[in-house]
């Protein structure tokens, strides 16, 4: 049987994107690119439900994010920023429009 990592590689396309991504577990979900309506930063996101969100940033997106840049300039440190409000709004909009599928993860079985 394949292990969970190779199963993930077969079933989703996000690993091929730059910077790899979060280490997959068996909760397979398609990570979709979502662009911020404010600054154009692109992250990859999955939603198991409307409340759940998993977001993978890469260095390019982090550099591009206007809110992080503004808050870092004011002395904050991005790892300690809970979220970017604009990106959250864009993720919600994408979920509502259907661009970002909202579906429980596909649990790989035996």
């Amino acid at each position: 049987m394949p292990d969970t990592v190779s199963a993930a590689a077969q079933s989703s396309d996000w690993q091929a994107l730059p910077d790899g991504g979060a280490r997959p577990d068996e909760r397979q979900s398609r990570y979709c690119p979502v662009e911020c309506g404010t600054c154009g930063a692109v992250v990859r996101a999955a939603k198991f439900s409307f409340q759940h969100t998993s977001v993978q940033w890469d260095a390019t997106a982090l550099r591009r994010c206007a809110e992080f840049a503004r808050r870092e300039a004011a002395g904050e440190h991005s790892p300690l920023i809970e979220r970017c409000a604009s990106m959250r709004a864009s993720l919600e909009a994408a979920a509502l429009s259907g661009d970002l599928p909202v579906s429980p993860p596909w649990l790989t079985g035996p």
Partner: protein, 412 residues
């Protein structure tokens, strides 16, 4: 990871042979300044901590390079620690400064000295298998409350745990165990991993079916406590209707600062909890926790210290339950997750950076990852469980069995 008949197998793996790179807290600084050398077993060896004549703390390998004597059982002489075996003196930089019975010190008489840092009235050592100095950006941040008269003094507790320290790290993403192990009721749970920092944002409310002080079921007393709790200066979480907002972050592999804000029956309360550890061996670590609380108006320093101690006892109760789980559980490299679990794999991938040479860390290992759990289903299930516990206790007219047993009823 299943066999042919579909039974899930546990991949227990093996703990890493090396220890994490990073600043590790050894405890409060002041107790090390009592005029004696102190032994710390860490990183697979023994260290000696001693204060020089100016009160500055230094850390050396404890075993004397002459004949292997234990410097931590020796004596501080001037700015050096002297071995109890043959009185060789070792200075803060690890150089042998004096051998009283000999004409000269061998040029190779040098032992390992460890880089130290004092921050938040605590002592830290830098551990790096590659021997590099600590980059400035991974330094331990200052907690203003630890230097302020408006806050209590630190409590400090330690617990030796016979398990690999990854177990305590896993807690960062483990939403559900807060209900079963820590008597809390999570309603909001979010993680952010980026660089050397792993954060957890958590809102909980108290469980009215559990008495936080004893860890026992307390349905019958809940009403009385709600009426009288604010008068007794009790800072423990988990009683009556106590709301808690927690922002916790690991700064590197072992030091977590947890900023806690309570709504204590309408009175805001602020506390800072340190949750840190250092490895002794790959199969053992020392868990430490400390608490400061902000003094409420009208509270004396003694009362504030008492509140902090009470809260620390409550935290300790939770840790003891964690430890009971850890020492009996299997190490598991392939956790089987459900849709409503946290990002265990992503956290472990973040944690792995501290076990790799700096040049080997892939960009995606430390890239920002956010994960927010949908707590709706959990809240629904736990509300029903708490209500059932309270109804059962009311019907029986007796306090119920221990919290652990109560949790298991709902779990099984």
């Amino acid at each position: 990871m299943t066999d042919r008949i579909g039974v899930r197998s546990i991949d227990a793996g093996a703990p890493p042979a090396r220890f994490a790179r990073g600043w590790h807290c050894l405890g409060l600084a002041e107790p090390f300044r009592d005029g004696s050398p102190h032994a710390i077993e860490a990183f697979g060896t023994k260290l000696v901590v001693f204060a020089d004549s100016g009160g500055e703390l230094h850390v050396l390998d404890a075993y004397c390079r002459h004949m292997g004597g234990d410097l931590s059982r020796g004596t501080i002489k001037g700015d050096s620690v002297a071995c109890p075996f043959h009185d060789w003196h070792w200075g803060p930089d690890g150089k042998c400064t004096r051998i009283p019975y000999s004409r000269r010190v061998p040029p190779t008489a040098r032992t390992r000295s460890w880089l130290t840092l004092e921050q938040n009235r605590q002592l830290f050592v830098w551990h790096d298998p590659q021997g590099n100095p600590p980059p400035a950006e991974v330094t331990i941040p200052r907690i203003e409350g630890s230097y302020s008269d408006e806050w209590s003094a630190w409590t400090w507790d330690t617990l030796e745990v016979d398990a690999n320290c990854r177990e305590v790290i896993d807690n960062v993403v483990d939403m559900a165990h807060f209900f079963y192990i820590h008597f809390a009721f999570p309603t909001y749970f979010r993680n952010v991993f980026e660089g050397h920092i792993a954060s957890q944002y958590l809102d909980t409310r108290s469980r009215p079916d559990i008495d936080a002080e004893s860890g026992r079921a307390a349905a019958r007393q809940a009403g009385a406590r709600q009426a009288g709790a604010s008068a007794d200066g009790n800072g423990g979480a988990g009683q009556g209707e106590i709301g808690l907002h927690s922002e916790a972050a690991y700064y590197g592999p072992s030091y977590m600062i947890d900023y806690l804000s309570y709504d204590y029956h309408g009175v805001p309360m602020d506390a800072v909890l340190i949750n840190c550890h250092y490895p002794v061996t790959p199969e053992k670590f020392v868990l430490q926790w400390g608490v400061i609380v902000k003094k409420l108006p009208g509270l004396t320093a003694e009362q504030a210290d008492k509140v902090a101690r009470k809260f620390a006892r409550f935290v300790g109760l939770g840790f003891q339950q964690d430890v009971d789980i850890w020492v009996h559980k299997s190490r598991i490299d392939n956790p089987l997750l459900c849709a409503d679990d946290g990002p265990v794999y992503q956290l472990r991938r973040w944690y792995e950076q501290f076990y790799l040479d700096v040049g080997q860390i892939p960009a995606d290992m430390v890239a920002r990852h956010e994960f927010e759990i949908d707590t709706a289903r959990a809240v629904e299930a736990w509300e029903a469980e708490v209500a059932a516990n309270m109804a059962r206790a009311a019907a029986a007219g007796d306090p119920m069995p221990s919290a652990a047993a109560t949790g298991k009823q709902g779990n099984g």
